[in-house]
Homo-oligomer: 341 residues x 4
């Protein structure tokens, strides 16, 4: 079986697993007060060029989004996201369960558009009934998006400008951030994120870590009583050091960048091969997610041989499917997939 | 510094860390559908003598309690616990945040009493205003308790009998279960728990694991749509295998029992030494938590030399403090502590 | 000033106010256990031809929707509604605040389409990731809709058929039900509603009552512990008789029907006059809400003279506005409005 | 039957019912923007000697408490109340359902003690684990209490002093406020409440109104986006004028005071008669709630003849019961009750 179904179905990268083993016998203080967390926080501050940044470690994208959004919103506010955004579509209602509406914008290649956002905010402000309508209290975007696309620096700046003009925070879900940073031609870097976003998370689970995400408040804007809120959400780890350690390793000697770059190299190798073989791309993605159009014959051929992701049924009866590379994808597997197709 | 402050401030036991490292390069399916989870589930079913048991893996006691309680209760019901119960006292309101009241009973050495429970349930049933009073919908107990005490099998049976007579589930928080199972003279075993409880969790974080708790529904009584509810709580791990692996290791060749037994041996060694030195025990505990009465001179002496847990201020001006041993405590550290006192 | 802004800006109909006055000096039992509630419940059962119906009285549409939806859904489910549905658009997030997502369908003249619903339910069932997606747990529709349109009996039957095939309840928001029942050519009656819906409310606030809505569970399917859930929502009135009395009056001698019929007569008189005067209708509505297209000159003319409702800005720069008649609208005011235009 | 069971089982006072009838045919703007609300707000400001007070009208004690508490607390905070407080005991979990824990203090004759409160606040501040313990974010007291007792001005001042020293608001549930204001020797007036409380509500439902409570923020400290939060709770009335009107009537020509004084006169007449007849008082209450100790013979005698309130079973096998007078109690009924006993 060739595995291209997703980017969270590998173990963790070996340096993290080795470092974990080295802690055997160590005493480590609780709730993120340990030396690994401190070291990882400092390295992330440096990588983001954000000396005042507050960094906290959580486990899993849905948890991180729920905690971040609930902490950044006032109780009566909602979060704005595109319809295909993870919080809108694939979190089993975790945001609503915490009391907040997800207000949706149309997605443009998976991305939010600054004009759409401005129009929504203006519409709310200008509506005589606005007290009866959920107030848009923050913007959620994913980078890379769920569709494998990327914001440009200019697009991010435009969204940030609208958010700041209207006084709402911009939050970036970076579940696959390593792959966004490494994509060919991408101009959004960690310092760029730290400049334009009010909060973002650096994804670990999908990018080489065992389990863990690093939530960054780049301007030191940690929400009030954040630790208690994390606990209230059931998200506080006694052994917070286990998350901190992973990011300490990932942000040592450029490992996070290298893991991202590898996945992108594999994705580009795959894309080039797909094109060379005449495969129809469903969309042109610069990230680790590659999408093709498959007919039934191809689907049958793949069945039991290649693990891929179903994406959507197309009007012409064919199917869009996804091949995801990741930090651990082997070139020989890419070549085997291409040979198989 | 000698560390006796708590039982969650060590790394994980080496067999777990080694097994994690061995997964490097492996492909593992997501959300708990992997072979480690399957193996751990089967081993736990065997250990509990509960062939129909459903087992799920979560991370952290507060999260596990919140998910279990919210799933076992109907939306209008509350959970009954003693005043010193973790869900009542030290979870930052996580239960209330999920919409449920914690209804408290008096604690008898940290334990709930079956007669108190029956009286509460009768009072609710007999109250003409009961529709205006939160309905007691389940019982929460900790074993060992927060006070380091243990239920006997007879006490557990009595609580279970009341719960079943009134149709409410009995749920046991086993954050420190390894230490309860190993305590000298303890007669509550895993099969006993599985027989009397409707749900319980086997604590990993405080008992040798890296991070993780195993939530057991011994009669196959998994709450409806459990995976979606876990996700809604932000508690679903993509890499669920990482929790499953830990329990697979812990339940291989009696490791969980051995880790518990070691902590108890250290605790008994400590207790014997404390008594021999004429230390006043605050309470006689059979578990890994040992409590003594300290005057100010002793507190000053400990300061900076021994990490211990503050327990409570006593009426006579002295202080109750806690020394916790754990699966990793070294006998030489126990002896050093005794020599130091 | 001529008042056509809305249908909840009049006092209550005189028979209700008189009946309230007659209670002076009376002793009335609490929480809906009184004789007025009992009488109103019986009359509503008769009017709905639903002898097993359970009827409860609440205050206000948002409250009734929140309580009904939260009681009909399981905690992890969401409610399906069209984008323009009141629960989706104009309840300040009351549904999400109670923990549930509102899943939206496109609106066809304000109405939900059975095929759209079936497609959504099929999509959820067929999605391999459905455990990560909010489960559609019930359908919410408004009759009349927020756009002043009406379901036909056949449309209602088709929606009901889909709901029953998929095992989800159909709930109808009847905030303006009197006007829907009285509309010329309408074929949805109370017995029809009781047959096809699993729950619905008969609006009082907008239809002649002082304050109050009657929530009907036509098949005796009152949700478990309903009174406690109402209390938990802060929606239980000690003097529940005050709501029951209003519906007792409204359902005596056909008053509810007459109030509805009067508003429709006024609306048709207005519509005929508007057409005769060459006004452009924004949409052809059979209910008490009439919509026209207004240019800036007309808006300026209306300003300070006629209270109307803003509806939406049109692409051509003109504006859709709403004139609402109600149970209390005087024919001379309709004529004055027509003369003024 | 003689009715002394409670104070919310009468219709409303006739001036309110008459005034409601007089609105027949009137046009009244929505959501509390009407002239009745404006007039009532101004009269309440005057009565409270609080020119900056913000006043809002809600329906029912549980709703008012839920909205007030949820608006005054931050999401992670809890509300402090005595164990017998309405929010702790008899609101079906409405506070927890809105996400907040009720932290309980012992009740002293139904009242909170400033020293107990200070001790709780100090304990929280001084606890090294306070981030894991719900933060006491406000104080809730009832005046009169659920036990029919009253705070003195000095007690209120002492509680207020502690609250202000620790920066938490003091909120007073005045469900039966009219009876507290009128009690013989009571020194807590509306201006006193406005001076010491940060929010309080003036009860209507139990004090002569049809339905309605007036929530007062005496220092203009209306919580942010209050109207939207009220709507989110399902508590916003389109016909808010109906509540405003009632308080406009109650605060005209001292009606609220007179209604309270009447109930107290009846209660004192009853108490004097009870004492004269040698009845054993369960507690000496200065308010409209009078409590006696009854043996089984007396309970049997009352059965079917006198509606009274069950209070509690006493250790000696007898029963404490309550007779409640109210604004509508007739002297001849008091005399009949006394003659009957």
């Amino acid at each position: 079986m060739l595995y291209f179904a997703s980017d969270y179905q590998e173990s963790a990268c070996e340096p993290i697993l080795r470092r974990l083993l080295e802690t055997a016998g160590e005493h480590l203080t609780a709730y993120g007060s340990d030396r690994f967390c401190a070291s990882a926080q400092e390295k992330i501050r440096l990588a983001c060029d954000a000396p005042k940044a507050e960094v906290r470690f959580l486990t899993g994208g849905t948890q991180t989004n729920q905690v971040a959004i609930d902490s950044l919103l006032k109780p009566w506010e909602g979060v704005v996201a595109v319809e295909s955004g993870h919080v809108a579509a694939h979190e089993a209602g975790a945001i609503e369960w915490s009391g907040h509406k997800v207000l949706t914008l149309p997605a443009h290649d998976g991305k939010a558009d600054a004009n759409d956002l401005r129009a929504m905010l203006e519409r709310w402000r200008g509506d005589a009934n606005r007290e009866h309508i959920v107030e848009p209290g923050m913007l959620y975007i994913s980078h890379p998006t769920e569709d494998g696309t990327l914001y440009t620096r200019a697009e991010l700046a435009a969204l940030s400008e609208v958010c700041r003009a209207y006084g709402i925070p911009l939050y970036v879900d970076g579940a696959r951030l390593a792959y966004g940073l490494a994509a060919y031609g991408a101009d959004v870097t960690l310092p760029v994120l730290a400049r334009y976003a009010d909060a973002f998370y650096i994804g670990g689970t999908k990018c080489g870590a065992l389990i863990g995400e690093a939530l960054v408040f780049p301007n030191g804007n940690l929400p009030e009583r954040f630790l208690s809120r994390v606990k209230q959400h059931g998200a506080l780890l006694a052994k917070g050091w286990a998350s901190g350690l992973q990011f300490d390793v990932l942000f040592t000697d450029g490992l996070y960048e290298r893991l991202g770059a590898h996945a992108i190299e594999m994705a580009e190798r795959l894309k080039a091969g797909l094109i060379a073989r005449g495969c129809e791309l469903f969309r042109d993605s610069p990230t680790n997610q590659q999408f093709i159009v498959a007919d039934d014959a191809l689907l049958q051929k793949l069945d039991g041989e290649v693990a891929y992701g179903f994406w959507e049924n197309l009007p012409d009866g064919r199917t869009a499917i996804r091949f995801a590379t990741n930090w651990a994808t082997r070139p020989e597997d890419v070549d085997a997939l291409l040979a198989f197709l």
